[in-house]
């Protein structure tokens, strides 16, 4: 009984603290359920993109690949390029859809903001800011996951390469994949951030004219 009271009191105290000392909030709420799904989906897409980019970089540095005919090299480069572009388009589409959802979810807030004298730019900035945060976070988490995957797969990749290439140096995989993967690791959050900003800006600018 005493333990139950103690737990209940602690819970009440926590509630009161939360009520009395809140953290500063954004005007456009971005802790809605759809934002979490959006973050998960974009993170997975960034992960896929990092794997695609890393595998592409491994492939083009592979001596066996370079020995293939130019047309086959070009075709495979095109295929990789198309896959990476497709992932970027999907991210842009998801952000556009997410911006629509965000504006619908925050209609009352946006209506209130326009009534109290918010300029279109003020609203646009607030909406873009929430998606920029999602973009950079998803990019960082996705590319970190990709980097981890490559690091974990490194011994297997090395074994497979040695199996297929008798004269390959031991440092080959390290030189071509790990270092390049750091470049991929840095580029993905930047790309994702830019795509999120551009897609949400174009969408919100179009919608906000009707408010």
């Amino acid at each position: 009984m005493t333990l139950l009271n103690k737990v209940l009191n602690q819970s009440m105290e926590r509630k009161q603290i939360k009520q009395l000392a809140p953290k500063p909030a954004d005007i456009i709420s971005n802790d809605a359920f759809y934002n979490r799904y959006l973050l998960i989906m974009i993170t997975l897409l960034c992960y896929l993109k990092s794997i695609l980019l890393s595998s592409y970089l491994i492939l083009i540095k592979n001596p066996e690949f370079l020995e293939l005919s130019i047309s086959i090299i070009q075709a495979s480069q095109l295929a990789w390029g198309f896959l990476i572009l497709l992932v970027l388009i999907i991210i842009a589409y998801i952000i556009t859809y997410g911006t629509h959802t965000s504006i619908m979810y925050n209609t009352n807030t946006i209506n209130l903001l326009t009534l109290i004298g918010a300029s279109n730019n003020f609203i646009i900035k607030r909406v873009i800011f929430s998606f920029a945060k999602i973009g950079i976070l998803a990019g960082l988490v996705g590319s970190s996951m990709g980097l981890l995957t490559i690091l974990v797969m490194y011994p297997f990749l090395r074994q497979i390469s040695i199996l297929f290439n008798d004269n390959i140096s031991n440092d080959f995989i390290y030189d071509t994949s790990i270092l390049n993967d750091f470049a991929v690791f840095l580029s993905i959050p930047i790309f994702c951030f830019l795509i999120c900003i551009i897609s949400s800006y174009l969408t919100v600018r179009k919608i906000i004219k009707n408010y």
Partner: protein, 227 residues
Amino acid sequence: MAINNNLIKLENVYHRYNITRDIFTDISLDIVKGGFYFITGSSGSGKTTLLKLISSALSPSNGDIFFLGNKINQVPKNELYKIKRQIGFVFQDFRLLPHLTTYENVALPLRVHDKNEKDYKKDVVELLSWVNLEHCIHTYPNYLSGGEQQRAAIARAVVTSPKIILADEPTGNVDQSNSSKILTLFQEMNKLGTTIVIATHDEKLLSDINATIIEIADKKINLNKRK
């Protein structure tokens, strides 16, 4: 040379929502600086529409609306926010943002006007004590009573020192005691020179205050001055 005392002027205004529904036909109205106005009329007569027209939230189907001598119809849509910044709004349903605290809700128009928090923090706290909400500065709107929420909404409307306050049924969701408190706040603001326009069908409010009554009937408006 006569001094123009008009804050808002409606000239031969027509408004319709669709082809079959006329709300106003040929109405003209002068709202003078420092005046106290009540808009009355039956439900659906167009009280809220008139407030929206005054606030430039709606454009008239025909006719002209002037704000401080400037024709609102000629102001580009992306510049209308400059006019709206001179108007304070109070709504029947309060419209406080649930994810912001009372303080953040009241300070919202100042944030929107790109003011620095250091400059306004003290003023907002003082304003909250003026509306007797100093005890719930960090409380979220869902934890406030109806009267407290409406007082917070009034504080939000006056925080930018607007030239005019438009209130749509401000006492519609509160009890009699809170209704009197809210009315007192409006009277105090009016004494300081703010023009007040309240849309209501609360007869008690109309009898308590000396004000100009704008009565909407049959798509027209009639003015009655009470002294």
